[in-house]
Symmetry: C2
Subunit: 203 residues, 2 copies
């Protein structure tokens, strides 16, 4: 039995970045998936009512991005120095900023308001961020930060997958550099095999 | 002239955690403050249309939490090992989660809706998070993580200050451990002198 446990819902979502990084590093872990029906009974026992959780040697913590950064250091996807780590962290937090801008679309039930939100995302927010990410990729040798593959790229590939699901279109169609980076991550050893074998879920 | 520049609006906000950490570490920096009138002309030149910015040796990055983590390593307010860094990062991201839950209050213009949002924050959200932060402080020797003073505590003190401004009451009245931690941060060498001498701004 592995001493590392990753607990998340039965989906990709915010748990998948942790799974990708562990698979990339060939680190064995228990992939615990909570069905929605069982979540209300478990929610209160988590640190702040959220998943994913990461457990190692009996110690548990939440927060997907913090966990991703921690695992990245084990699997050699962190920066080579502290400035590189800052660049990687800043891009990761910017990906989170963009991710959070998509959430109102998910929680809006009024069809007309939802359509308006979606238009704003597709015509303003996404082009603004993607245009800037494209420039970072040009400047960083095909990656988002620090001139090399880092955990920010892995987080980005996961986030782009979620954006496609949320927006119900391929948001990457017009952004070749982003699309290429996503594919590069999905072809990485460990991650490629995981994608081929993981449980199929809608998101 | 200092080779470190911190650029933010003329206020505390998300720039203040960077200023606190630099002051604590006795690191000289140029405290550049952008007036709202000048912001539209500058916005497009920033990495993602946001402040604060941090500049060191001519290199610039955004994202306040990423910058705080970077400076924390210089001033010895990071963890002693990677698990401690994970604990500190997870608490910092949880502080951000709570901070973002307060933003709708700021952007809501309808007085009735604003009052409803405020009640939910004061009666549900804040007690939920503060009750759990209180348990972390009990378990961690009076600090939020890693049994010692860290940059998460500094970020927390700043966030609590913002919560008081947003909610127009002292949110800490019922939470002695949180109040004590905030005071402890505000009494730290460098930070104490900064608070006494910094420009006075509403938030």
């Amino acid at each position: 039995m592995s001493d590392i446990k990753v607990t998340y819902f039965n989906g990709r979502g915010l748990g998948e970045v942790i799974r990708y990084l562990l698979k990339y590093g060939n680190i064995d872990f228990e992939d615990i998936r909570i069905e929605q029906d069982n979540w209300p009974g478990l929610k209160d026992s988590t640190p702040f009512g959220q998943l994913p959780l990461y457990e190692e040697n009996g110690k548990v913590t939440g927060q997907s991005v913090a966990i991703a950064r921690y695992i990245a250091k084990k699997v050699n996807l962190a920066g080579d120095d502290e400035w590189q780590n800052l660049e990687i962290d800043a891009i990761a937090d910017t990906i989170t900023d963009l991710r959070l801008k998509l959430y109102p679309l998910y929680s809006e039930s009024d069809a007309e308001k939802k359509a308006t939100l979606k238009q704003a995302l597709l015509l303003e927010t996404i082009p603004y961020y993607f245009g800037r990410f494209d420039k970072y990729i040009s400047k960083n040798n095909g990656y988002l930060a620090a001139n090399k593959l880092s955990w920010a790229d892995v987080y980005f590939a996961i986030a782009l997958d979620l954006f496609n699901v949320f927006l119900e279109i391929n948001v990457l169609e017009k952004y070749e550099s982003l699309s290429t980076l996503k594919k590069k991550v999905e072809e990485l050893p460990g991650i490629k095999e995981w994608i081929a074998s993981r449980p199929e879920t809608p998101f």
